[in-house]
Amino acid sequence: MTDIGAPSVAAAAATAELHEAALRPALKAGRRFWALFIGLGLVAIVGAVAYGIQLAAGGLSVTGYNDQVFWASYEATLVAFIGFSYGGALVSAVLRLTNASWRGPITRIAEVSALATLLVGALFPIIHLGHPERIWLLFARPNFQSPIFWDMVAILTYMLATLILLVLPLIPDSAMLRDQPGLGRLRRRLYAVLSLGWAGTQSQRRALERAMTVVAILIVPMAVIVHTVLSYTFSLTSRPGWHSTIFGPYFVIGAVYSGVAVVILAALAYRRAYALQRWIDDRTIRNLGYVMVVLGFAYGYATFSEITTEGFVGKQAEVELLYGLMLERYAPLFWAFIGLGLLAPVALIAFRRTRTPAGIGLAAGLVIAAMYLKRLLIVVPPLSRPVIAGDAGSYTPSVVEIAIVSGAAAGVVLIMLFLFRFVPVLAVDEMEQIERVHADSRMAAGPRPTKAAVALGDVADV
C-alpha cells in the first residue's frame, strides 16, 4: 500500500504546487508589480496624449513624416508588432502540432504575448491616418484591389484565430481556478462562466483536443498569409527596394524570428519575477534559443539573397539604394542590425558559456531591438530616394511619434500584466496532460537501466 500510495501523494503535492505556481501572477501583486504597472501606465498615458496632440494638429504634421518619407515609424511598428504576434502564435501552434514535450510551460505566455502585440499592432494603421474617423470607409467602400483592404481582412481573421487559440485551452484551466480556494466571488463567477461546466470527461477532452488541432493547423497558414499580405503593402508598389519577390517570405521569417525573441523575454521575465524556474526551466529557454538561432540564420540568408539579387542585376536605382544602405548614409544602422540582430545573438547562443538564460535573454533583447531597426530600414531608405525627381528626403522621428510608439510598447506589456492577473501563466491542464502521457509511456516501457548498470554490463539482468 505504501508503495502505491507514496507516489500518488507526491503527485498530488506536485499538482498542488503547479496550480499554486500558475496562479502566482494572478494572486500575488507585490509592490514591484504595481510600480511596474503604474510606470508603464504613465508611458501609455503619455502615448495617448501624444496621439491626442496628433489628432488636434489635424494629422501627421506633428510627426517627422514629409513629402518624400511619408511612411516611417508607424508602419515599422505595425510590421514589428504583428510580427511579434505571429511568432507567439506560431510557437504555440507548431509546438502543439509537433507534440513537443517541452511546450507546456511556454504556450500560455506565447499565446498571451501574441494577442497583446496583435491588439496594439493593429491600432497602427489607424494611428497613421490623419483622419481616423475615415477608417469606416475601408468597410463602407472597400477597394478589393488594394492590399490595405486585404491587410485589414487578414489581421481581423488572424485576431479571431489568436483569441480562440488563447481561450480554448483556458477552459480546463478555468475549471481548475473555479475550484481554487481563496479567490474572490467575482473571479470565481468569471471562471465558472469560462469553464463551460468542464469536468474533464473523455468526451470533453476529445472535443477540446480536436478543436485545438484544427485551430493550430489553421493558424499556421493564416499567420503566413497575414505577413505576406502585409509585405504586399510594400512589394506591390513599383518603388525600388520594396518591389521584391522575396518580401513575402522575408517578412514571414522576420516575424517568427522576432516573435520567438518576444516569447523568450516574456518567459524569462515571468520566470524570474514569480520564481517559476522549476517549470520554465533552462532546457525550455535553451530550446527556444535554438529555434531563434535557426530563424536568425534563415533571416540572414534571406537578407543576403535580397541584396545579392538586387545588386547583381545592378539597376541604377537599386544599386544607389544598396550603396546608401550598406556603405553610405544608412550604413551604421544597417551594420548595427547585422551585428546586433544576426551575429551577436547567434554567437551568444552558440557558445556554451553564454548559452545561459541571461545570455539567451540578452540575445532575444538584441533581436527585438535590431528587428525593429530593420523594419525602419525597410520602410525609410527606399522612400528617401525620390522616384521621379527632386532631392533625397530625410527622416527624423518627432517627439510625438516616439511617445506614441513607446506608449504602444508599454501597452503591450500592460495588456500582458493585466491578462495574467486573470489567466494562469502556465497552461496547467496541458502540462498535466503531457506529464500524464509521459508517465504512461514510462510505465509501458518499464524500468530503464541506469547508466551505471549499463556501464557494468548488468543490462541483461535488469
Binding site: V153, T157, L160, L168, L196, G197, S203, Q204, A211, Q316
Partner: protein
Amino acid sequence: MWLMSRGSGWRRAVALAGASLLASLLLPANVGATHRGDVVDEVTMQISYQSSSLPGAPGQLVARLQVDDGSPIAGLIVEFWREVEFLGPRRIVLSRSTTGTDGTARLQIIPSESAMRVGASFAGTADYLAAEQSTDVGASVIPVPASPAAVADAGASLAVVSTAMPLLLAFAAFVIWLLLIGVVVTTVLAIRRGRAPATATRKVRS
C-alpha cells in the same frame, strides 16, 4: 578495392586522358594559326543604338564587324552586354548574336534607366583578333511593352483574374471565419453536453 587492384592500369588511363586533354587544348590553336599561313586580321567593331520613334518601343543595338579595308565579316558571334556597378564594375551578358552578310549583329532592347552602358564584344577566332566597343544609351520615357495589341489582349485575359481574385479571396476569408466560429460553437456545445461523467452516461444507456 577495385581501383587498388588495377592500380597500374588506372594510372595509365589517367595519364592518357591528361595527354588527350593537353593535346585538345593545344592542337586547335596550332591548327588555326597555320590555317591561313599564320595571318590574323585586325577587326574593327562599330556599335550604335537606334532608338525607336515610338515611346517605350524597343530600340536596336547594332554591332558591325569589319576588317581594315571596310569589308564586313559575316558569321561571327558577337556578345552583347550591359555594364553594372555594384561593389565594383561588372558585365551582365544580354544576348549573343551572329553577324549577317552586312557584318552586323543586332539586339532589341528597351532601356529601363536614364543612363545605361551597353556594349558588344567579339572574342576573336584563329583568323580574326578580338574586338570590343561600348556606348551609352538611355530611356527618355518610362518603358512600356511594345505592342499595344498584345497589351490589350493580356489586359482582357487578366481582367477575368482581377475580377475573380478578390472574390476568391473573400470566399477564402469567409470560409476561414466560418470554420473558426464553427470550431468554437461545436466545441462549446460538445463541452457543455459532456458535462456528465462518461461512465455515468454509459450506465444510463446500458
